[in-house]
């Protein structure tokens, strides 16, 4: 910026202001005014007079410029000069002047917030919502929002709402998202009206402009807060555009989309399942995007893609950026809660790299894994063979104690050594968290090995994949709907995703599925007793089962309803949860697949366990079919 102080400039400006030729030159004129105000408030009267004169210029561009500059002055006592041109400006025949005039009233209001706003002006502004120019309409909304802030913003009644909805297509992207935001306050009177509005907005959900899509989805979520099924189908409709935004050329937009996808996944974990490849990291992406993508990937793992996802995550573990590699290792640990064998193989393989930051991240992950999934104890213990010399590291000590206690092997030989190690940790460790854990194990060890085992195995702790069975339900949409399309998801690191708190034990009963069944299929054992039992050896081979199933006539099937604590879990997550408690399914049908046809009611049970019990996915099927019929 050039230097603007000094006598000479002021003189020059004074000359310029009184020169009629300068006033036709927009840029210099504009700069002149700004300089004058900044330098010398005494000159402002001169400026205001010039501007007032220009407000009645024949050229609309000059009028709008003058009006805008006058409103931007932010001088006390401006109101008396500017009121008249603003009132005239509202009725100007050029749209660009009206745009400026409407916002001008908002500026005046913020300049003097205590002065009572003229009712006539407010009414005029309400009337101008019907202005033919879409920007004027949107500006009216904005101005009314500011002026009526204390009364809760602009009042949206039925005619206004419908007028705005019908004019929506005329606005540009920015206007549309603003109007959609204002419309959130409107509550339709009847269900019919609601659905009319929804169908009017439906196409906007697919908009490839991210702002419009996000604003529409937010509006959908707020309008249908009592209709979860509609919300779900809206989420599914918006999935495509959201994924497109997550792959857009602009990194910042990618990040915003990823943060919002994480929100969505909190309620609908199965939403992005088949699109997991979209969340593979590009090598040139900044670390914060990579880390977000990994958090999403952990959520998307299922039987079919687990190998691919782990393969991909394995590649990130040796990333140059240490934080990225740590996140990758943690992500593998997160997946390890449901697929422990594969993940343990990768994690122990990483120990071989003998790089400090990797080793420490791996040890930390293993420690958490042993705490959450005691069945990993064995594998961890064998991976730690030959680490005796490293017993200086607190992480190793804690891990070794936990693993060996679980294995119940060579305990006598190691007991004193472990105790000494723990005592060393308690003395030396600076990290409070680790020290506390060492202290816990030390005290437990005092009570005896069996006690440690009992505590460690006492209860399987909360586990995201067990959610469908042990009832950590996905959050209802209303939990996060209010923060959708706000800055909040971007400022908060979504740290809750994928990390359950290992400190809160959530014991799992051995047979948690209360199942009810209706008898009906002659080919299958009678289960009218209500509770289904598991069989160790399958009564049918999968091929036989399929043959029998296909022979079944329509309607002659067994329908079992599982009272699942989570109302809307996807069949995939149910299956993952069952695997965790070592229940294998004999047959499994993804939704919308032939030949497992769904009857017209959509209440068909199609999943089968090893022999017995029968797990159904009626719930899931009903979901999909009701969405299809919507």
């Amino acid at each position: 910026m050039p230097y603007l102080g000094g006598e000479q400039t002021v003189r020059e400006l004074r000359r310029a202001l009184s020169n009629p030729n300068v006033q036709t030159d927009h840029l210099r004129y504009r700069n002149t005014i700004h300089r004058v105000i900044r330098l010398n408030p005494e000159l402002s009267l001169l400026v205001i007079n010039t501007l007032r004169k220009d407000c009645s210029d024949h050229n609309p561009m000059v009028r709008s410029l003058a009006l805008r500059n006058m409103c931007n002055l932010r001088l006390p006592g401006l109101l008396q000069y500017v009121q008249q041109p603003l009132t005239v400006g509202l009725k100007d025949k050029a749209a660009c002047v009206r745009r400026v005039a409407v916002l001008g009233w908002a500026k005046i209001h913020t300049l003097q917030p205590n002065t009572e706003m003229d009712v006539a002006v407010v009414n005029e502004l309400y009337g101008m919502l019907r202005d033919p120019d879409p920007v004027v309409m949107v500006n009216c909304l904005r101005a009314l929002e500011e002026i009526l802030q204390e009364e809760g913003g602009v009042a949206i009644n039925k005619p206004i709402a419908h007028h705005l909805l019908n004019r929506l297509k005329l606005c540009d992207v920015w206007g549309q998202s603003e109007v959609l935001a204002v419309l959130q306050r409107y509550r339709p009177r009847s269900e019919d009206e609601l659905f009319d509005i929804l169908s009017l907005l439906d196409h906007a959900l697919l908009s490839h402009h991210a702002p419009v899509m996000a604003a529409t989805l937010r509006l959908f979520l707020s309008l249908c807060s009592t209709l979860p099924a509609v919300c779900m189908s809206a989420l599914e409709r918006a999935r495509g555009p959201l994924l497109a935004a997550a792959g857009s050329a602009s990194r910042e937009l990618r990040y915003a989309a990823l943060c919002h996808i994480q929100l969505l996944l909190r309620s609908e974990p199965g939403l992005m399942g088949e699109h997991y490849k979209r969340f593979f990291c590009g090598y040139a992406e900044p670390p914060y995007i990579k880390q977000n993508k990994m958090q999403v990937l952990v959520e998307l793992v299922n039987d079919e893609n687990v190998a691919m996802v782990l393969d991909e995550l394995r590649g990130y573990c040796t990333d140059v950026n240490t934080e990225t590699s740590q996140t990758a290792i943690n992500a593998i640990g997160g997946i390890g809660r449901s697929y422990s064998d594969r993940c343990l193989a990768i994690l122990t393989g990483l120990l071989g790299l003998k790089q400090e930051h990797i080793t420490s991240a791996v040890l930390q992950t293993l420690r958490d894994l042993v705490w959450v999934c005691p069945q990993c104890g064995d594998a961890v213990c064998s991976a730690l063979e030959g680490w005796d010399d490293k017993l200086q590291d607190s992480q190793v000590v804690i891990l070794a104690v936990a693993a060996r206690c679980l294995r119940r092997q060579n305990l006598l030989r190691h007991r004193t050594q472990m105790g000494r190690g723990l005592a060393y940790c308690i003395e030396e460790e600076v990290d409070m968290c680790v020290r506390d854990q060492a202290l816990l194990y030390y005290r437990l060890l005092h009570c005896g090995i069996e006690e440690v085992r009992r505590v460690l195995q006492g209860g399987r702790r909360s586990d995201p994949s067990l959610g469908p069975l042990i009832g950590r339900p996905p959050e209802p949409i209303s939990q996060w709907a209010s923060s959708f399309n706000t800055l909040e998801p971007l400022t908060l690191r979504a740290s809750t995703v994928g990390n359950s708190d290992p400190a809160t034990p959530n014991p799992l009963t051995p047979n948690p599925e209360p199942m009810t069944s209706t008898p009906g299929d002659p080919h299958l054992p009678d289960c009218s007793s209500g509770a289904l039992s598991l069989s160790v050896s399958p009564a049918l081979s999968p091929e036989e089962f399929e043959r029998l199933w296909l022979q079944l006539e329509k309607g002659a099937c067994l329908e079992v309803c599982v009272a699942c604590p989570v109302p809307r879990c996807s069949p995939e997550s149910l299956q993952v949860a069952l695997r965790l408690v070592n229940i294998q399914t004999l047959a499994f049908t993804p939704p919308n697949t032939h030949p497992w046809r769904v009857d017209h009611q959509g209440d068909l049970a199609v999943g089968h366990q090893l022999g017995n019990p029968v797990i159904e996915q009626a719930e899931a099927v009903r979901q999909t079919s009701s969405l299809n019929s919507d």
Binding site: M1, D25, H26, L27, N31, M61, R68, R74, R99, L103, A106, K107, T110, V135, N139, R142, D172, V173, W174, S177, E178, A181, H208, A210, P211, A214, A215, G240, A244, G247, S250, R251, E252, L253, A256, K277, R278, F280, G282, Y283, A284, E285, P286, P287, Y288, Q291, M308, E312, G315, T318, V320, L350, G352, L353, K354, N485, T486, L487, T491, R493
Partner: protein, 442 residues
Amino acid sequence: MISQLFILSSKGDHLIYKDFRCEAGSDAVNKFYEMVTALTGDQPPVVMKHKELHFVHIKQGGLYWVATTKADASPFTIIEFLNRLTALVKDYCGCLSEKSVRMNFALIYELLDEVVDFGYIQTTSTDILKNFIQTEAVSSKPFSLFDLSNVGLFGADTQQNKVAPSAAATRPIMSSQGEQGGKNEIFVDVIERMSVVIGANGVLMKADIEGEIRVKCYMPSCSEMRIGLNEEFSIGKSQLSGYGAAVHVDECSFHQAVRLDEFDTYRILKVCPSQGEQTVMQYQLCDDLPTAPPFRLFPSIERDSGGRLLMYLKLRCDLPPKSAAINVSITIPVPKGSLRLSQELSSPDQSAELQPKNKAVHWEIPRFPGGAQLSALFKLEVPGLSAASLQEVGPVSLSFELPKYTCTGLQIRFLRLSPIQPGPSQRWVRYVTHSDSYTIRI
């Protein structure tokens, strides 16, 4: 709503500062720079908060473009707006750089005045803005020998006359009848970005293409343009036809100004381009490349008896023989602590170097013709090399540019302006494929 907007250079110089609502002090700029430089890399830097003020920023052209807001605004709107603003500045100033922003500060202030009023976005369309923006861009163009390459011997037409000079599309949209100005040019670019993951066994694990058709128009008024795409262009999985040569994309979206009445039958897009750059069509293709991926790697990695790491890499380019990849740069992660690199490359124009900070070997190939195969032998001295260290080698990532080539096969059949423009007008069609992320696992 936006409270302030400012542009900072990467060193923290204030280039542009505009306060729309006087809600926050101007010290916010310094505060922002402090915060952004204090980031450790783990924190997501797009949105930051200081007291009541949210900073949303994007980084483009080496500059920070920052908007601050006090209200709870939509992040998508602000980020998209900042992106649009950079595009506008690029259109009006020719290119995005610290220098061009510095030289055109007056023009940018003028733009901001028209685009945002009282923190509310008014319009970003060049059609409307062109009535208001009076300042002309100052463009700095150092003398360059390349400009002379278009002039043939004794003024004869060279082959290059038929090719648009690379700098042609980086001039401001508004320039008076000066040297280059007034030239009625229109550029239609088909740009594709591919992200590919190839597994260790050579299987294609992921292949996504995101493409767009971008129109950059320098004509002051252009009534209608018809863009004809391949006739056998199909969208979505359901429309797959039996023809082998069909060009297929999964999803496709259009700019709202595009009229599609002839699209279903003739695959013609009709658009009235406004001045400046705009994306007319965007499309995506997932997991289904019509041709083989452009590069394939055959690595062999071993330890030799002297404890050195031997990497023998054969890289094959599977493009059609007429095409070529340029600016190919290959990054091979190597074990930590690698000390020295000795290399044998198959041709002298290639180069390779070890970057210990990034634990990687960079191998650069300026031009790589289709069908060719290049090889390189790297010998690395790594103290304490163990069998496990070999795991640290890979995945290899490539970045490259494929000029005059689209992976989907999308072509522009014709480009017609109606009515025919008076005076000389030039239409250029350009194709390019960029690697967004091209990874080959070892």
